[in-house]
């Protein structure tokens, strides 16, 4: 086999990742046009795109920055609800649906990034499991705050309250958008599979380009050996924060996309379990392996639907749990790993996997 230089290899590798995403989009569009996709799967297309974006963005933090975050759904939540508020309050100003969706996603991304910054500054001073528990805590706090938040809009602009709908004091023609624990109940669905596809491409470009650049190398250096990285002049907080905020920005956009796919959505959708779900995508796909994140997110989002089809409906979460445990055991246990790698060698010849950025 011809020896490839690392930069070449990265280029080829990244091209394959882009290729998979683009080809998957084209195939699904063709199948969809031919009416060959069941409504159940069709309904999952936008969530799959949102979860893929979430997985890509979380991989930046967990895989490349090496920090365990258990509260990523919090940023998704910030993006989701700020996006919905923007979209509903700009209904008159921007009649075009796609443009409004883009604006909503942009605002969602910026506000989630801001939240990421606010959370990141204190959180990134901690390390290891302590950092993990604080991200969990922030995720729960964000959920709780949105759960008591009321937002309405009238001719004077946006109004906020944490008491109840009446306290908004909306004027004539005003209406409540976000109603505390009930969430948003009158959303206008704007998301489409194409929008999701574009978001995935953007997330992919941002993360892959970032990782293969000066800033990305600094982030990975901090992951591999913090003290050595500092000793060559890399500022810890700056680059950890940069990765964290970038990740939150992408999560915010994903949240906005996700929320715009439903006519009603509440804060409890983005709880600890959602954070864990995304983390499972990242770990199953492989830390630092963006392509793996994409495949894992798509596969695991569709898996319960398939189980539903096979009339295993009541067992689907049980099967999901068993699959999860078995995959972790198979990929991480020493003896099973040796078995798999020898199997792979027999099948594909001497194929050596390289670490670092893929």
């Amino acid at each position: 086999m011809k020896q490839l230089t690392p930069s070449r290899k990265k280029l080829v590798n990244n091209s394959i990742t882009y290729g998979i995403v683009i080809i998957a989009y084209i195939i699904i569009q063709i199948l969809n046009a031919g009416g060959m996709i069941s409504p159940a799967i069709q309904g999952q297309l936008v969530p799959i795109c949102a979860y893929i974006t979430m997985a890509i963005s979380l991989n930046l933090v967990v895989g490349f920055s090496g920090e365990l975050s258990l509260g990523h759904a919090g940023f998704m939540s910030v993006g989701a609800f700020s996006g919905v508020v923007v979209s509903l309050s700009l209904q008159q100003a921007i009649p075009s649906g796609p443009v409004r969706l883009a604006v909503a996603m942009l605002v969602g991304a910026v506000l989630a990034g801001l939240a990421g910054f606010i959370v990141g500054v204190p959180v990134l001073r901690l390390q290891g499991d302590y950092l993990a528990i604080v991200t969990l805590a922030f995720g729960e706090i964000i959920k709780n705050i949105i759960n008591i938040l009321y937002v309405g809009v009238d001719e004077n602009g946006l109004r906020f309250s944490i008491a109840n709908e009446m306290a908004l004091g909306l004027g004539e023609g005003g209406r409540a958008i976000l109603k505390g624990p009930m969430g948003v109940t009158t959303n206008v669905k704007l998301s489409s599979f194409t929008a999701g596809f574009i978001l995935v491409l953007i997330a992919l470009t941002v993360v892959l380009n970032l990782v293969n650049s000066r800033a990305g190398r600094a982030v990975m250096a901090l992951r591999d050996n913090r003290i050595a990285a500092e000793s060559v002049g890399i500022q810890v907080t700056k680059y950890k924060l940069m990765a964290f905020v970038t990740s939150a920005v992408l999560a915010g956009a994903a949240g906005a996309l996700y929320a715009m796919n439903y006519s009603s959505i509440a804060a409890k959708k983005f709880d600890f379990n959602t954070s864990i779900l995304v983390l499972v995508f990242v770990v199953l796909g492989g830390l630092g392996n963006i392509r793996g994140s994409i495949v894992a997110a798509a596969f695991l989002t569709v898996l319960p639907e398939f189980l539903r089809k096979l009339n295993l409906d009541q067992y689907r979460m049980l099967v999901y749990a068993i699959v999860l445990i078995l995959v972790m055991l198979a990929t991480n246990n020493e003896s099973s790993r040796i078995f798999f790698s020898s199997l792979r060698q027999k099948l594909f010849g001497s194929f050596k996997r390289k670490g670092g950025a893929r």
């Binding site: 230089t5 690392p6 930069s7 470009t205 941002v206 380009n209 970032l210 293969n212 650049s213 000066r214 800033a215 990305g216 190398r217 600094a218 990975m220 250096a221 591999d224 050996n225 003290i227 050595a228 990285a229 500092e230 000793s231 060559v232 002049g233 890399i234 500022q235 810890v236 940069m242 390289k354 670490g355 670092g356 950025a357």
Partner: protein, 286 residues
Amino acid sequence: MAKKFEKPKMVPVPSHSIVPERDLGKLPVLECQHLGIDFGGLTAVNEFNITIGPSEIAGLIGPNGAGKTTVFNLLTKVYQPTRGTILLNGKDTHGMNTAQVNQAGIARTFQNIRLFNNLSVEDNVKIGLHNQIRYPMWDGILRLPKYWKQEKLAHESALELLSIFGMQDLASHEAGSLPYGAQRRLEIVRALATNPSLLLLDEPAAGMNPSETAELMENIVKIRDTFHIAIMLIEHDMSLVMGICEGICVLNFGQIIAKGTAEEIQANPKVIEAYLGSQKKGGGKR
């Protein structure tokens, strides 16, 4: 190729400075005054005073646990000093963190090798170039022309630096998979990439055989001469220390017990005692 190394004359004994004559009158690269650190109640380093000239190769020796690595950690602010000042090129490093100290001019290697094991050799050096070849994060994400220009520059510089040790062919290897000696050399290259004025080497010859050590000695002198920097090294291999260090500082129980040239140190009774133990207490002659 490196110049033949000649032993310089030292400053007269009373000052106990270890700056070679040619560096006198120049601004010292490093000046420590009353430097010290306590861990809880334990004084690990105390009254550490040293001056190092801008083109000097200095040695820091002492028995195990004397506090040598702690001195390096103080200089690079891995530990914050409890007292004393560190002047780097005349500038006080008070309040700086490790990264800022590196930007101000100190680079180091580690006793227990600390490479970025999952990254390639070239990337390790490029990370060393982090503050030398810069471009904003946005240029990287959007792949603007500046990205391509600076990345090309970084690639070329990395290979050039690796060629000091003839390691350019290893550029695409994973750093963690290199043999031990190559890892040590890569650490030095990575430190040099940060364009320091003072290079700290923590046991650079550890685990090397005599011929490798001899080659390393040549390379250390060559590095000093090509990069015009000062080097301070911790080493247990006395042939290396006595062979290339112009000024030597001996540390025991966190205190400097002797400073001077190789000859002076070898003749110093305190040093002999620190290494071999007191004759009175230890009993029989060795």
